[in-house]
Amino acid sequence: MTDIRDDAPAATAKHASATQNAAREGLSGEGDTLIARSVTINRSRDDLYRFWRDFPNLAKFMENVKRIDVRDDCTSHWVVAGPGETTVEWDAQITQDVPGEAIAWASTNSPDVSNSGRVEFRDAGERGTVVTATIFYKAPAGFVGKLIAKLFQREPGIQARRDLRRFKQLMETGEVATAARTLKQREEEIA
């Protein structure tokens, strides 16, 4: 079979399997779903890298991440909202760390919610930095799990795009935009 690959990112392929694509993006670990989203942020690579490398910061813009505790320089503990009122927790190990360029991590000891991720920062001249986040994971309970995830507006493709937009807002404007009018309304939105 001839390889007629083009130059588009692996996650935008129509056919190739997620596992093959993940390998192309330099991700390891187990999974059946690959998501990659890019956003351009008007800040330097170093600023963005530093903010992201401090893992507890991720909870400020990742809607479903309730808390990330740092265990040691390479290990963090993630507490993430699942469907309904549930939470899911796992440990993640940093698998790659290139200051100002890329950070990759993978969950350990969590066969049910096996996932790995990578974020890459590339110079974009006067536009700032292109940030590409790639997430590779095994959907909980396969198809049914995905369906539930979608129902709860937690479908990771959309979720990743929204999270990156919030990251951009926070880094460019110092705040996350909200259309709420009152504190109570905003709390209801976040809940």
Binding site: R127, G128, T173, G174, E175, V176, A177, T178, A179, T182
Partner: protein
Amino acid sequence: MRALTWHGKHDVRVDTVDDPEILNPRDAIIKVTSTAICGSDLHLYDGFIPTMKAGDILGHEFMGEVVETGPGSTLRKGQRVVVPFTIACGSCYHCGKHQYSACDNGNPADNQDIAQELYGQPMSGLFGYSHMTGGYAGGQAEYVRVPFSDVGPIVIPDGIDDDRVLFLSDILPTGWQAAENAEIEPGDTVVVWGCGPVGLFAVQSAFLMGAERVIAIDHFPRRLELARRFGAETINYEETRTYEALIEMTGGIGPDACIDAVGLEAHGFFADNVWDQIKVSTFTGTDRTHSIRQAIHACRKGGRISMPAVYGGFVDKFPLGAFMEKGLTLKTGQTHVQHYLPGLLNAIVEDKIDTTFLISHRLPLEQAPDGYRMFHDHQNDVTKVVLKPGLDRVAA
């Protein structure tokens, strides 16, 4: 507080709702002193704009007094400000290019999905204009939470009446940008479809930018009279065959630049318009588009089309062939209000631009539903309704 809320087609009410609060560092709270009903609000009133929710507070043209500020605001309590209808952060790539209505960050992340799917890219947030553009509460209320208050609102010097500056919030910069987008050259004949507030400001702006002639089209005698007052020649499209008149009035050439200031609710019963209306009522098309079609048809070869008018979705029977063959240019978009504010405020202070001629009715906020009905039903006489919270009840 009291606020004008939307409940469905032709159903707006003044309700009591919770006061707004400071939620982000750069916020300010404005106590509204004047707020206007816009032609764009009629699109909401008529139920043409998707993603509205019952209880949404309308209004994107407002000004008032600063009563509270977040730590990141540059405003001070007591200042009088006019607030742009576009919510822009001032620090993203587009804001850096002064393309404020394309701001990446003015629209909350979740609300950006709708426009991303529908248009390919999300737009900035707007006050009081559906959830696709943010779902922000609008200014037809006693108080408004204004995000990014260090970037948008312009401070008004003492001694300048609300009525003179209120329209900086939208329609004056919109008319100005419409004329700028027409790239007017000396000697040009510019045609403006629609003599609503946007069209009338486009007429004034076109002359200030050096147009030799401006021809204004509408069917409301009073609105045509206002256009004539600024030096425009007029066409009443109910009395006159517009295309033929335009060709004759330009010696067979056609106008150099055409401005469509009508938008998705074009009036009139032209053959293609009836077809559009049928499609609207059968939900097979969203926009009625006579004016833009006619502008493309009449425009001279190599001419320019400027389209401040709002269109919401997809358009059928767009004359792509004429557009291509004649080598036309089309410029459009929501107005980059922040970009024009200092210059236009100056022009008002120096009496180069008058905006007060437009105001036909002043009502208290409590009578806002009357204002909508009047503006909707009697466009000849009702050119602009300004709502003032606290004003005494008037007979309407």
